[in-house]
Symmetry: D2
Subunit: 310 residues, 4 copies
């Protein structure tokens, strides 16, 4: 198996077509990929000055681009995640002034004084994350996923902090082992970028930071020829899912549900208004993030209600 | 047990302080309440003209106000829901032009042609909802809840279609049997309104209509003296929850999480920025509705992570 | 001329159908109306404690309802404003914590520390407003308007702080002497409410408070029979205007422009898509407020481009 | 004077650091720049199929990047616009399905049927734009400006359809002859991009398209060393202005006003909360666009109220 990582310091901070591939893989190939944590593994103590570590726009370093042989504009890339291992015995979370769901930001600009910075170290072992030794609460299960996974747009180079139609920084916990992620291909080779491993994360990632970890994952990529999708899709054993990323948040939800309805029509033969009405009875939603450059909403349709096509 | 319903035709279409109570109950009292469906039980066939049935503002009829003896401004009303029975053998759902999550509305005004109207009848029996006889899919479990529950504001009379700080039309599936709903008291007697029974509903209620049913529920109300809350709270066996209702949707999420963080601090002793950072690791979110006059988001904190107070 | 004012202390804090008229006028009648300032004229020094003065929901007191004889549901009320006189020699502005366009609010909830409260007194005389004696800047012209004007909804009682389809707290400087304001009639007698006089205001009313004054205005009301409008309209010598009030702000803009386009089609014979394309070349917009319960946007079409109907 | 244009077909469709400069200019240099219209000058008749002409992402072609010698990260680039000449005797406007302020879009996704496409040709001569020969309305004055002007971000390549902190597709009519545009410098040479000439445009550019023209403009650029700005600023004879671009629209307004308040404090010595309160009395706002990838709002402070610094 290929073992893919970027050279030290040569991380990608944008998802775009301009960076040389760090590896080439075939459709159907299984490989190992290593990722840094969102802070470039630079936090090893609660005493670091987070303001010094975050030197915009050099945050959320990604591994990639990985060139997938044969992928062309108009195809879909299917990424199957087999496993995500944490390569360190702790995760990191933080409060970052002017970043987060419950504070003034560079977008939701206010004159209020900022919140303080704060760093926490969360020991990880035996499949458990210790949030705090001080707080008398049980360990959090280790449920890893990639906060960021995306394919290169044709012309744009999009900040690794932003999600979008290309995937990117969705912070959706459904991008996890066992699931398949479908991403649009816009350039030859697709240009796959991966990073921002999370050992645990609440819906919405409300303070802006999950339990951030460096990872080693095992993935398989498959090129689905001539299969155009508008926005990322995910499939688990229980759900088919679509991801919408936009602001305001209702637009993210609209995109996700629109794509879900269209998917139900095109692939499962449920007429779109019927699918719309059915989703209104059985769909589930994950609010993936309310903190990034765009918000991400995952619309989920339970497979149990997919028509049994005879 | 008192059996509370409004006189036929005397439904409440606003939640406010201006309507005479239809019943008085004591704190601690358990009673039965009957509700009409959101269309006043006027749909009995797929052939009805929904545009004629919906005569704004006379939609979503509520039962109430129920006067709770002893409740005063500054108290909290706790409503425990024991059961919700469907009093008909079918539910109704519909597509209503200019209403819904994936269409132009009177707020998100566009020049696009509207979607068509459509009515569906969903047979309900043996704890199951049949979405469609045509579509080869399994039955949906009967999981009833009240789409609308709220207490009167001091001066405002708020449309029964709108959620808000008073509760109202949140369309949150957590307002269900087994759970406790906490609502702010602003007037003497609280002025409790209930309605909009749903036999099943997807997160977001994306087309704007759930499986609408008339109901008979059994409730207990308790007045918690001198206990001010800003926005509705819910408690289940597994979660403490707060509801935010606002537009854009991120403001609904902000309100919900703000109230959750403040609750964790005031009642469970987790310092608020610590609670904020903890929610970012373990909170869950339900997108309750993306279709009403305001959107509703439920922020949920798993009780398992509440500190064990010794 | 009738001289209309509410009895001292009997102000209206909601716009709805539940309060007894304080006066009755005929269609075509010209009358004098007195209004309090938004703080009930209770601020007479920079040293007052604004937090004590603002006792929600008892803010922004309105004069009314004024019953307009003969007005019925389905009519339009035209209010012509002849003059607005300031009945005091100063205006008041303030910073109110958790209220304003550049701070955390009860809707855009954050954990940031609040801004401080602050009160300013602005002397008014000879048609000029002195913003500050300290700051070496010229006087601001006295350009008075009503921040709040609206007609009663059929069932709802809407906070005097909120704008909406009924008019209300739009904070649109176009509600000024010389202009005609068109409001929907939903109840017998229309139920006209007026208040929130401003001696000067910037677009957006960004800190949440204008130069607040008590006023005496001279108005004429006219009932236009069988003339349904969805949202307030305004006409000046130069523009026809529509007002949209909603959140997010783009929805306010959508409503305003939709109504403008429809008006251009129905009354001036410009096919609606042509009108849409024409507005894209010549329309003007006033951002009226970005601080109230809903934001208000005024879309303006220059009369010079109205087709000359022969 | 240098005469700058891109080679035919070598237009820029993103604003970023990856494209080779098409020209180099010195700080203080005055030069001529040519731009294509937003449709690459490919529309010469109302009968063209706009869907074929718009081949995303190859729309809104820009001239640039222009390398400004000596500009470095941390500087500000001041662009003075002397004149903008239309190089054709007509402008073009259009309705583009799924694009515009009053229709479903790829962001505000709905299931409604789309609006039709439509193209209009608007003759331009003698300083006048003829909107339509059919409609009996006067000519519109020729008031040209650049819809798009921006400097390269450090790592991102941003669609020429999007505005942002880098400037870009703001569609602000204040980017016009006589005014100075201030843009942040993030890379050596600044990387200036210009395009999207408009002969006329209404506030909000509501249908998504102005009177689109190819242009020849005369500009001067000046590098202001060590002068960091967060977002574009504009100065005219009457106003100092700041531009905010974001979604939802209130965030665009927040950014614009925040930057205006900070500018008033840092450069004119008005303490920021005083500036905030003053803006609430005298500021003006232009809603520049409600149709692009982000909305743009211009906050304007009248120079007449700038303190006279002795």
């Amino acid at each position: 198996m290929q073992h893919i990582k970027n050279k030290n310091g040569d991380w990608a901070y944008v998802i775009g077509p301009y960076k040389q591939p760090v590896a080439k893989v075939d459709s159907g190939e299984t490989f190992v990929v290593e990722t840094m944590d969102a802070f470039e593994n630079r936090i090893d103590s609660v005493d670091v000055d987070i303001a010094k570590i975050i030197q915009m726009p050099f945050v959320n370093p990604l591994t990639g681009p990985i060139h997938v042989n044969g992928a062309e504009k108009g195809d879909t890339l299917c990424v199957t995640i087999h496993s995500i291992k944490c390569t360190r015995d702790y995760g990191v979370s933080a409060l970052i002034p002017e970043f987060g769901g419950l504070c003034s930001t560079v977008f939701t600009r206010t004159l209020n004084p900022p919140l303080p910075a704060r760093v926490m170290i969360h020991p990880i072992n035996d499949g458990e994350v210790i949030f705090s030794e001080e707080l008398n609460i049980p360990a959090i299960p280790y449920e890893p996923f990639y906060g960021t996974i995306g394919t290169a747009p044709e012309l744009e180079a999009i900040s690794s902090l932003s999600p979008g139609f290309h995937g990117g920084n969705m912070d959706a916990a459904d991008v996890c082992p066992g699931n398949k992620i479908f991403l649009p291909v816009k350039i030859p080779g697709a240009g796959l970028f991966i990073g921002d491993g999370h050992a645990a994360q609440g819906d919405a990632e409300v303070c802006g930071v999950a339990t951030e970890i460096p990872t080693q994952g095992v993935l398989t990529v498959d090129v689905i020829k001539n299969s155009n999708i508008n926005s990322p899709r995910i499939e688990s054993s229980d759900y088919i899912m679509t991801v919408g990323s936009a602001k305001p948040m209702e637009d993210a939800a609209r995109i996700a549900f629109y794509e879900l309805v269209m998917w139900l029509e095109s692939e499962y033969g449920i007429e779109k208004l019927m699918a719309y009405q059915l989703c209104s009875q059985v769909a589930r939603v994950r609010l993936a993030n309310m903190v990034d450059i765009l918000y991400s909403v995952v619309a989920k349709f339970p497979k149990t209600y997919l028509p049994r096509l005879v």
